[in-house]
Symmetry: C2
Subunit: 205 residues, 2 copies
């Protein structure tokens, strides 16, 4: 595998997914930091060379560039037990990763971003109007996760996979957006299991 | 592979992705229709037996159930050339599929749903407030696709993949949501290439 460089903003849970996947997969990852609040991913050079979408994270493998956190986490986990060998289980892992991007991240991660980096007082009218729906959507996502995890240790099969990594990233810091994990005992137990894995690194690492 | 049953609402582009993937992969797919406008995916039986998330499509393989359109399209294409063998290309295919769920579907598919099934006059205040941003996000998605497709035939490598199927589903009916494909010549040429493939079926099939 070519040398891996992560173009990132370290506080982003999406960037952390890739660092955690690499740590658990035992892959080396070099890091380049950009300050999204200063527009460093919207420069002409970034748009031309790293990602025309102006977003991070982007994983660089040799001279190729891979945006989208879940795709990059999948790539760094290639060839390890973090990707199930069974075709249905592999698709089921992707199912949770697509679900994360559609039902979890736009609610839980967005509200965390608004509360911690933008500030509730600085939200514009549209963001303020969307906030109740995002709180409701985020809570519904946590409830669905809790129901799924009741009586099972991991999202897919009986071993940790990239789906656990991608879902863990914003779930374990959901309280920063005001989401209470108190009611979700199965989610809290699963968070402890993720953190107990050999090679685990925290989001601040 | 176990017998495949698609639980669906046929007019949904997300359901069509799976039908098109099966057709191009040469896999047989049985179909069960639910009327989402009559709440048929919110019944106790559907939530208990098919998908606790109350959403379609869900792909049934034997006695296992797989929600999330892009994961299901990936599964039916397993073992065919629609999934690249090269690990980076495979991850790059997933990159476009995650991008579709985050940047394309919530804009282009949602506006199409609002315009064709809800009706612009029936939008609530929040939907009305979100509409300009969704039109802008959808147009930005089409622009990014057009730039990527300039000088290349398919989204990943030099052959069609599941990424093309997943992106085609809502792009080719984007006009139903008011998105003009006129300015995007590379997108229009790519649509014609998708439709020229052996085994292609239209969304109305």
């Amino acid at each position: 595998m070519a040398m891996l460089i992560l173009h990132e903003y370290a506080a982003s849970g999406n960037c952390y997914k890739i660092r955690l996947a690499a740590a658990l997969a035992g892959k080396r990852l070099d890091r380049r930091e950009y300050d999204i609040l200063k527009g460093e991913t919207r420069t002409r050079a970034f748009l031309a060379n790293v990602n025309a979408n102006g977003r991070i994270p982007v994983l660089q493998a040799g001279d190729r560039f891979l945006p989208e956190s879940n795709a990059a986490a999948f790539y760094v986990a290639e060839g390890t037990a973090l990707i199930p060998g069974d075709p249905f289980d592999r698709a089921d892992m992707l199912r949770w990763m697509f679900w994360e991007q559609y039902n979890h991240e736009p609610n839980i991660a967005t509200v965390r971003f608004w509360m911690t980096l933008v500030g509730e007082d600085n939200l514009n009218d549209l963001q303020r109007a969307m906030l109740p729906g995002k709180r409701e959507g985020g809570t519904a996502a946590l409830k669905l996760m809790d129901e799924h995890l009741a009586g099972r240790d991991w999202f897919v099969g009986d071993a940790p996979s990239v789906a656990d990594i991608c879902l863990y990233a914003y779930t374990h810091v959901a309280a920063e957006g005001g989401f209470d994990l108190g009611p979700w005992a199965a989610v809290r137990a699963w968070i402890a299991r993720v953190e107990g894995q050999e090679g685990y690194i925290p989001i601040t690492a």
